[in-house]
């Protein structure tokens, strides 16, 4: 409580400051005029600002941010620099444009609207990446206050609204097609402050005026309308009255601007953009590596059919139901994800299936043969109702599928995290049944502990490690929670040591509620690199596949546009990687989360690391992760984006032909 203490919270406002105030006579004691907002020298005057007459750089800050940044509403502006990106063919690379108003130029409660127009990206040899197809813009919308939902921006009206004192972000994705010629592609993004629709409302005719106009025109038509005119005098009279009425209509103040402007000037032309837009230069190096269409690492992700049925009011098995599932399947495929639909039974029984149609349906072959699908779940129908019909249908499914080339991608996922001997026995019984239909069937089982009620091993971790001994040959894909490992990467070798690759056994992993911060996971509020690092971890630990329980597991709702609530007891974002489009607009297209985009980026990173390792060996691949500082372990990975680009750049530099 010593007031002269230099750490004191109060008093002596300027006393400890050595830099003198900018103005000898300042305006409030402290540090007035030290931060100037970059507006010195511009003179926008004291009236309402017309954004078409002022350079947009005087109205807003524009700067770029990497895709792993969570650009919050309080994000502080940085200098605008050219964006340089690297991408392989069949790769998506994204970055963000951050926008923050310096002033308000709208008059309707917002700071202003901004138009974002992107040119095609062109190479010197004339090849193109086309806006709208290969280049997409999405608005980053906060969920629980954290930037997460990526809502598509209408390409016909690419506008974003800025709020006073808030930073907004636009997510720009460049999708390089498989056949894109390598080269350096260059383009520009024009960011232009514009009048808001409400502010330019005066330019359209308001409803009340429209009604008035309509009535006047009707009465005018009554004047000119009747065909049997009694006399020339009457006709003169009618023509004169009609002329007066028309002049009255044309004198309506709402039509006055039509005289000056002939109806052109709606589109923003190049001159305007050159004169007033902020220009973000963008260059993309497309290199001669093509990401394999089939992901090297199968990542199977659940879609709750129950949630779809409830929210979109669809009855199981109806045409709408099939269409909704089909829509979700196709949409998720673009994320290098192999989706499975699921429905939970009691005791964590699970019905998991990738294709809603039976194996003999043409759609089934289309689904299962899709090269983008790395693995598919075959429904074990009797899991929910163990009737003879269900059993017969299952047998027929397997009979059909096991003869197909894609059968090697098939797996059964029967039970989520069995916990006791009784549940293990169930899995074994089903396995016996399935193996009688197809000896080479693959069963996937998720677990994070050994069965309770058995004396498998003296310690809990030992019991967990010994699970393969209990489930062999009834499980081929041993899928364990990353949570079990914690930060002890060294335990991986104990897990792998128990597996028999010669019998086709594989080790996959999953994340769900755990692990929690600071380890990689996909909860809202984690860092962007923490989201992306889930896949780096998988690659480093050497698992050969990955499972995630749910992508659309919001709380129950019976209306498509109902608020998205996360389920009780789960960390925010757990089990939710995309949102119903209806919540944000009239679109039915799902809205991806930034986390889903970072999953895709992580999946793509795996292909880079795999390419590098195929050339220089796995040890060198692991060394590359370490020496770039990108990923060293579950609690030691980069918090910033830089090392990610260094890793990718190094693969490009050493592996291009």
């Amino acid at each position: 409580m010593d007031p002269s203490d230099s750490n004191s919270a109060a008093g002596g406002k300027t006393q400890n400051v050595s830099v003198p105030p900018v103005e000898g006579v300042a305006g409030g004691g402290t540090s007035y005029g030290w931060v100037d907002g970059g507006l010195r020298g511009t003179n926008l005057g004291a009236g309402v600002i017309d954004p078409t007459k002022v350079h947009s750089e005087d109205l807003l800050h524009v700067w770029s941010m990497p895709s792993t940044a969570n650009v919050s509403q309080q994000e502080v502006p940085r200098p605008l620099e050219k964006v340089n990106l690297l991408a392989a063919r069949n790769e998506r690379e994204s970055f963000q444009i951050a926008l923050r108003p310096k002033v308000s130029w709208a008059t309707s409660g917002i700071a202003g609207s901004v138009q974002i127009q992107c040119t095609d990206l062109c190479s010197s040899s004339g090849d193109r990446l086309v806006v709208g197809q290969s280049i997409t813009l999405r608005r980053v919308v906060p969920i629980l206050g954290v930037p997460d939902a990526l809502v598509p921006i209408d390409p016909l009206s690419p506008q974003v609204t800025l709020q006073p004192g808030e930073t907004a972000a636009v997510w720009v994705s460049l999708n390089v097609p498989c056949g894109q010629p390598p080269g350096l592609y260059e383009g520009e993004i024009f960011i232009t402050a514009v009048k808001t629709e409400l502010d330019s409302r005066t330019e359209s005719l308001p409803k009340s005026e429209k009604y008035r106009l309509y009535r006047e025109l009707r009465s005018c038509l009554d004047l000119t309308g009747p065909r049997d005119y009694s006399s020339p005098e009457e006709m003169v009279q009618r023509l004169t009255s009609a002329s007066s009425a028309l002049r009255r209509v044309l004198d309506n103040p709402a039509l006055q601007d039509c005289q000056e402007n002939n109806g052109f000037g709606d589109m923003m032309d190049e001159d305007v953009m050159n004169n007033v837009s902020v220009r973000l230069k963008l260059s993309l190096t497309v290199w001669d590596f093509t990401l394999p269409v089939t992901p090297s690492l199968p990542a199977v992700f659940g879609i709750s059919e129950t949630v779809i049925e409830d929210r979109f009011c669809l009855e199981h098995g109806t045409e709408g139901w099939y269409s909704a599932l089909d829509h979700h399947f196709r949409w998720l495929l673009q994320y290098r994800i192999s989706p499975f639909f699921c429905r939970w039974g009691d005791s964590m029984r699970i019905l998991a299936y990738t294709c809603p149609w039976p194996a003999d349906h043409p759609k089934a072959n289309e689904y299962y043969s899709d090269p983008r699908l790395a693995a598919y779940a075959v429904p074990y129908a009797p899991i929910l109702s163990c009737t003879d019909a269900a059993k017969n249908s299952l047998r027929r499914e397997v009979e059909i599928l096991k003869s197909k080339p894609h059968w090697s991608k098939a797996y059964f996922y029967l039970w989520d995290e069995p916990l006791n001997v009784e549940q293990y026995d169930m899995i074994c019984n089903i396995s016996n049944e399935l193996r009688s239909y197809a000896p080479d069937v693959r069963i996937l089982t998720t677990y994070y502990c050994g069965p309770s009620g058995s004396e498998l091993a003296p310690s809990t971790f030992e019991a967990f490690v010994k699970v393969p001994n209990v489930l062999r040959p009834h499980t081929q894909i041993f899928c364990t929670s990353e949570w079990v490992l914690g930060t002890r990467e060294d335990l991986v070798k104990d897990i792998i040591a128990e597996l028999r690759p010669d019998l086709g056994e594989e080790w996959w992993t999953y994340v769900c509620m755990g692990p929690s911060d600071p380890q990689p996971n996909w909860h809202i509020g984690m860092r962007g690199t923490q989201h992306r690092a889930v896949m780096w971890r998988v690659w480093k630990e050497g698992g050969t596949g990955f499972l995630y329980w749910g992508t659309n597991c919001y709380e129950k709702a019976m209306i498509p546009s109902a608020e998205i609530c996360f389920r009780r007891g789960l960390p925010p974002g757990d089990g939710v990687l995309f949102y119903p489009g209806e919540v944000f607009s009239s679109s039915h297209e799902p809205v991806a989360s930034t986390r889903l985009e970072r999953i895709l980026s992580g999946m793509q990173d795996i292909e880079y690391l795999k390419l590098y390792s195929s050339r220089y060996g796995r040890e060198e691949g692991l060394a590359l992760m370490e020496k770039t500082g990108m990923y060293l372990g579950p609690d030691r990975y980069t918090l910033d984006h830089g090392p990610v680009d260094v890793m990718r750049g190094e693969v490009y530099r050493t592996c291009r032909s």
Copy 2:
């Protein structure tokens, strides 16, 4: 790392939960369908929602919150209950309406728009509090992510925009005029989901259509227009062509709805509101106490003239400058605040003045005699330029003012926090000059420590307490920082013991950067009761006045609508109690912060406590604060609103006639 640990972050998602899932077959393992959002039973269907056809309670949550609540975007809905308020005459009482979408009904990127219509409040004897005059609505806008700015809602279009997944708040203020008859006033607020302006855009005529219409009508006028028609045949021809043209115009799809609707239905009629609106019942007890027009405790608050000059591009002394200062003065008066304008010199010299006009100007008398003004600063002009002219003008000012009845409200504020003997000497010199003009002059000095370089006392606190010995008779208002006291209320008696009330000496206090959390202050991010408690603290400690250094001390900007930046080194919100209206809309009216409203509430609380103490004694007044749990000390005051209403209710119960 024991997976069976019940505190574990992962695994066993449902294992420790005793309540069974709502559905036997759930959709995602955990807790699906436990939180239902209250939409069960309503059937909004799967298409776009028409808010005019659905009850608004199916579309959004509505509930009330007290004025001391910081309603964040994540605020969780509560049940809607009737709002019961108590207010004296000449008092403002506020509460908040929180709104959160259950679904999205707009299609343009927001969840939807809501119309908020309030009825007049009526008493059974026919008296009224009129909407727009006595009842105002303001939107609560976040500043640095914290709800703070109160942006007026246009009474002609009282709409609020809701974002998906975000809670919005509307600040409702009831201003009871001095002459309002006591009684129970009742009314309702109708909250109605509406189509957004963009969604109903189709109802107005778009610009392109307007231009087309204009061209067609012009050509039609060319047909009917010329006065000298050569023949009846030509006239028939012209009338026929005009009729066709008009029919073509009227057939324009954009005008089709005019046929069905005769232009009415723009206003929301009572039937609509009765059928689809959420109704919030509101009752206000106006009691027979009238808050004194002149605040019992003078609270003097600074307004930076430099900030006004810079931001509004006004030259000192011009007509626009006087008008801007006048506008600020009048606006702040409504908050029971006595404003002073200020400009800082070097070494914390300060020019402080309440009225920009000289004492012989008619405006000066208007300002100084205003009964709402409890104290006024007289400019000591020589502080900035010590010329003879300045000295003469000062002398003339004092000569004029000292003869006026309002002279008892006058004070000089010369120096902000003098720190050394040299600065103390300056104050003494000025005081000698001023006392030669008027022996009863009052000088206010702010300080938080004794002068350095003097051997006033052995300890720092002692030196602080002994300041009156040094400044007597050169200061009458000893204004000390609350930060010095910290949580040690007992030190107050040491300060007061040094003062000579017989010589007119008074103890005032101030807050600025400190004290910090958990003590009362006005920083953004503190609790609402913490803001309000600044004045509770003043009352309990027994100070007879209060000073605050700045109300508009944002960082420098040269454009009215420039982003509001807080100054470097100050806690957010320090020195900023209102915002330029231009940042939020085309209005020039300043935008109050919630903190400013809570200052007003605190000032009003003082009048309640004073009334109570005048009846039952100061000890009972202090006991009332304590027994209601409202305020016990700088780190022990209520965090919730309840005790505030209990205190006020107790004063009402015991003091009404």
